[in-house]
């Protein structure tokens, strides 16, 4: 019904953006990487700092944010109302509304579309179902490391590999993240734990997009983090061997599903 901003949330890159940081109005580079919108239907916190607690609340934020789409919501509403092809679509989606094209309904429409963006089975899932050949031996070793020595599962748990927690994982930048919202020391430099489904399609990693490969990510957690008072107590030097690092990367790659290609609709005019 409404097309998500595919430049920021590109299905080719697991519904995120391969670039390190987002691009906003007048091509300005934003402060954080565009987060994925994959598998968000079960989440409760949105944006890297979790400042929205529903997809409906999140949906309109980037539209009006001066640095992002920079479109006042009254103008956004007027623009959608002026596109005649949207009228019957909104009427069908919101049959009890006398005037179905409202900001509230636009938010609901976007949120409902986003809830349908779900990853399919990955090699890891097929292995869980009993297909021993679905994952390599290296990936299977990586799964054990993920749960034990590397301690990734402390936060990356559940079917989407995120417990929706917030941590300072020691990225060396000045962005205090959730610390702006929650005046608690442990929230300084803290960001949301991302889900790991299709993670190798993100291309750049962490809230600032500063890491370019999954191996860079593993090296960061191994001993590349900044030590400061707010650092999560779950982050400790891991002393991983080179083989163990490769095994972890292989496991992470086994979380990528062969999702159906997304067909772009004709835009209502």
């Amino acid at each position: 019904m409404i097309v998500i901003r595919r430049t920021c949330h590109n299905p080719s890159f697991s519904w995120g953006n391969w670039q390190p940081k987002g691009t906003g109005d007048k091509h300005q580079i934003l402060g954080r990487k565009d987060p994925t919108i994959l598998n968000l239907a079960w989440d409760e916190f949105y944006f890297w700092d979790g400042r929205a607690e529903s997809l409906e609340e999140q949906a309109l934020g980037p539209i009006e944010a001066a640095g992002e789409m920079n479109l006042p919501l009254d103008k956004a509403l007027a623009r959608v109302k002026s596109i005649k092809e949207y009228q019957p679509m909104f009427k069908k989606a919101f049959p009890s509304s006398k005037e179905p094209v409202t900001l509230e309904n636009i938010a609901k429409a976007i949120a409902t579309y986003e809830r349908g963006i779900i990853s399919d089975d990955a090699p890891f899932d097929n292995w869980l179902k009993g297909n021993e050949k679905a994952m390599s031996t290296s990936a299977k070793r990586g799964f054990v490391l993920f749960n034990k020595k590397a301690n990734c599962a402390a936060c990356h748990s559940g079917w989407n590999f995120s417990d929706s927690s917030f941590h300072d994982i020691g990225i060396d930048d000045n962005d205090i993240g959730r610390g702006k919202l929650v005046k608690v020391e442990s929230m300084q430099h803290a960001f949301k734990t991302v889900g790991l489904r299709n993670i190798d399609r993100h291309r750049t990693y962490m809230h600032d997009g500063s890491l370019e490969t999954l191996m860079d990510v593993i090296n960061h957690y191994d001993n590349g983090f900044v030590k400061r008072p707010s650092l999560s107590s779950d982050i400790q030097p891991l002393n991983l061997t080179e083989q163990e690092k490769k095994d972890l990367v292989e496991f992470l790659k086994a979380l990528t599903s062969d999702d159906k290609p997304v067909t772009l609709p004709n835009m209502p005019m």
């Binding site: 979790g50 402390a154 417990d163 929706s164 608690v184």
Partner: protein, 133 residues
């Protein structure tokens, strides 16, 4: 004695509704109180990244709300095997417990009626509304 009295909110930033003071005890003193009083007290346990309310001999997992009387103690206890928690008052960020490692104990009471939304900063899905009567 490791007793911290937190007087909430300076007059400059006082909200429209007065917020009650919270009395917090942590560390060894809290542990001693817990050992002596836990059987007859209300306990908010943290287990598997969830709150469990323990009162009157029964456990309620993921409670949405609970009530306390003015001055009544609530023990907040980390019963995890390995996860750290960090409970604070998300109503106004006016107080926060020290990060609680597994086994950590704190006890809190409130000086006046009111509502407090307690939340784990690290795992904000863990939340409960405490009504003080």
């Amino acid at each position: 004695m490791n007793k911290i009295y937190i007087t909430l909110i300076s007059f400059i930033f006082a909200p429209a509704v007065a917020i009650a003071g919270a009395n917090i005890v942590e560390g060894g003193a809290a542990q001693s109180q817990y050992d002596a009083e836990k059987a007859a007290s209300k306990v908010l346990a943290q287990k598997d990244k969830k709150f469990i309310l323990r009162e009157g001999g029964s456990d309620t997992p993921k409670p949405k709300s609970m009530t306390l009387k003015v001055g009544e103690k609530l023990f907040i206890v980390n019963e995890e095997e390995k996860y750290t928690h960090n409970v604070y008052d998300s109503t106004d960020d006016s107080w926060v417990l020290q990060k609680q490692s597994p086994g950590g104990v704190a006890v809190i009471s409130f000086d006046a009626p009111g509502e407090h939304k307690l939340r784990c900063a690290i795992h904000p899905k863990m939340k409960i509304k405490v009504k003080v009567e």
